[in-house]
Symmetry: C2
């Protein structure tokens, strides 16, 4: 059975060079020179930390929204996208105790999470990994790839999301900026 | 960090005696004398199989539905509830590629999954464990507890659910009936 779990390890070698590790809220993460991404079986020796997440199904996105995203988004691995970021976040117990319709309403109708992300497509490509069910210290890991020239747009995307109602439920967030090694 | 992952192991000893292992669809599971439930660190020796699942947040239930369920349901561990069942199921790729609103519509508006379960509360207590993100062979493990006298009602509950539109997306299902050891 092939696992859909990916590991993100802070180590001495990896596909990405770590440019900065910035704590946005809650406990931080130790710095390291490189970020390694792959299956658990290939983990580098003595990592400073390892975060795991599962490439899973979408939890809030409607059929119409999926169609809108699919029409414009581009995949990971674009040669020009040599800048990246890994942003692990954890949401509070108050968030997780909300029912599905309440979480969806805060996520999109109030916070416009999908609409904000859509406005930055295709330049900012991203993939979401779910970590909460794995008993990990974070609930989600979001991986972003973009061209260095789009870094200011990426900063605006993060600023917009962090001002939303949804983000009031984020109690731990670390921003790890990287460039292709 | 405490994990919310529980392990269900088929072994020579455990809190529950296995009465039957019945394959409903897809590949079956090997028989064993007992079902052991607990944290991975305490697993019994040489289990025939181990299934893991995470006690996670609800994925489809609205606030109103949660209130309806909470008002009538009873917890696990009732002394009279000496009969139980573990039902692991897997849903097809076709299910998982549906958007959230389409899955919700099939789950409740078409299949009345929540309403059917509610009709059997409080006698049939249950807890859902999510397994898909863990890379497990099943997507969900549902654990049920009830008094032996309510076994016919439990059979009707299963029969109702298996006739729904939602169940057309179930491609593997095994029914493990147990009694308290």
């Amino acid at each position: 059975m092939e696992s859909r779990v990916s590991s993100f390890a802070a180590a001495a070698a990896g596909q990405w060079k770590i440019v900065s590790v910035r704590t946005i809220s809650g406990a931080g993460l130790a710095p390291a020179s490189h970020l390694w991404i792959g299956a658990e079986s290939g983990l580098p020796a003595a990592p400073a930390w390892v975060l795991r997440g599962s490439g899973s199904n979408l939890r809030y996105t409607t059929e119409q929204e999926v169609a809108g995203l699919t029409a414009v988004q581009e995949g990971l691995g674009r040669p020009a996208a040599s800048a990246g970021a890994l942003i692990p976040i954890r949401k509070s117990d108050a968030w997780w105790s909300l029912a599905q319709d309440r979480r969806r309403a805060i996520f999109e109708e109030q916070s416009r999470h999908i609409r904000i992300g859509l406005a930055y497509l295709p330049p900012i490509a991203r993939k979401l990994f779910h970590a909460r069910d794995l008993g990990e210290p974070f609930d989600f890991l979001t991986w972003f790839e973009f061209a260095p020239a789009d870094a200011p747009a990426f900063d605006r995307l993060l600023a917009e999301l962090r001002q939303t109602e949804e983000w009031r439920y984020v109690d731990r967030e670390v921003e790890i900026r990287v460039e292709r090694a």
